[in-house]
Amino acid sequence: MLETKIIVDTNIIINGLFFSNKYPYDVELLKMIEKKSVNLIISTDIDKEIRDTVMMIAKIKKYSLDKFDEKIYCKINNCLNLATKVFPRIKTNYSKHSLDNKFIDAVIESGSSYLISNNIDLTEITDNIQDMYNFKICSPFQFKLFVASKNVRIKFNKK
C-alpha cells in the first residue's frame, strides 16, 4: 500500500500531533504514515506551513523557543524529513482560497490518490477536477473507509 500517495492538510497533522485524544482518525492516519502503509507527500509550501504553525503555537504560548526546539520541534522535523518532497511546477487556482491551492498543486505534481482534509473549501472542489487528476478529497474518517474497502482503492489507483 506504500505506493498509495497521500497529501494531508496542515490542520489534520497539527491536530493529530497536539490533540491525539480528541482526533482519533487524524492519529490513525499519522500511524499509517509511520508504518509506511501510505506514502506522505509534502511540497515545500506545505512543509513551511506546518513548521511555521508549530513555531507559532510555541510563540502564542510564550514557551521558551530553545526548550521547544529541543523537546518538540526536533521530533516534528524528523517526521517531515522522512516525507517525500515534491516541487509543484503548476500553480492552480481551483480553490476559493489561494493558500489552499498548494495542496492541489502537490496532488497534481505527485500523482497522489488522496487529498485528506476537513477544509470545506477544499472538499467543495468539484468531482470533475478530482476525476481529471484521478484523486479523491476526503476526511481522515472517509480515508479509513476507503482503505478498508479494497474495491474503492483499486478504483482510485487506476494510474
Binding site: N11, N15, L30, E34, I57, K61, K75, L82
Partner: protein, 88 residues
C-alpha cells in the same frame, strides 16, 4: 650527472612516500567520515520506526503542560496563513 640523478630519484621517492602517507591519512579520514554517516543513518532508521508516535507524545505532553486549546491552534494557523498570504 649520476649523483644528480640519484638525488632526484631519492627526492621523487620521498615525495611519493609522503603522498602515499597523505593519501592513507585522507583514506583514514574518509573511512571515519563514512562510518559516522553510517552511524547517523542507523540513528535515523531507529528514529524512523516511531518518529510520528514520538512527535505525538511530545506534542500532547506540551499541549497538556501549557493548556493549549484548539482555538489557539486555529489562531496560530490563521496567523501563519495571513503572513504567507501577504507574501504572495
Amino acid at each position: 650527472m649520476d649523483d644528480k640523478n640519484n638525488e632526484n630519484k631519492q627526492k621523487t621517492n620521498k615525495n611519493s612516500k609522503e603522498q602515499q602517507m597523505k593519501g592513507d591519512n585522507d583514506m583514514g579520514a574518509f573511512i571515519t567520515e563514512r562510518d559516522k554517516k553510517i552511524e547517523l543513518n542507523h540513528k535515523d532508521i531507529c528514529i524512523e520506526d516511531s518518529c510520528w508516535s514520538e512527535a505525538m507524545e511530545a506534542c500532547s505532553q506540551f499541549a497538556k503542560e501549557t493548556n493549549l486549546t484548539e482555538d489557539e491552534v486555529k489562531e496560530a494557523l490563521k496567523r501563519v496563513r495571513n503572513k504567507n498570504n501577504s507574501r504572495y
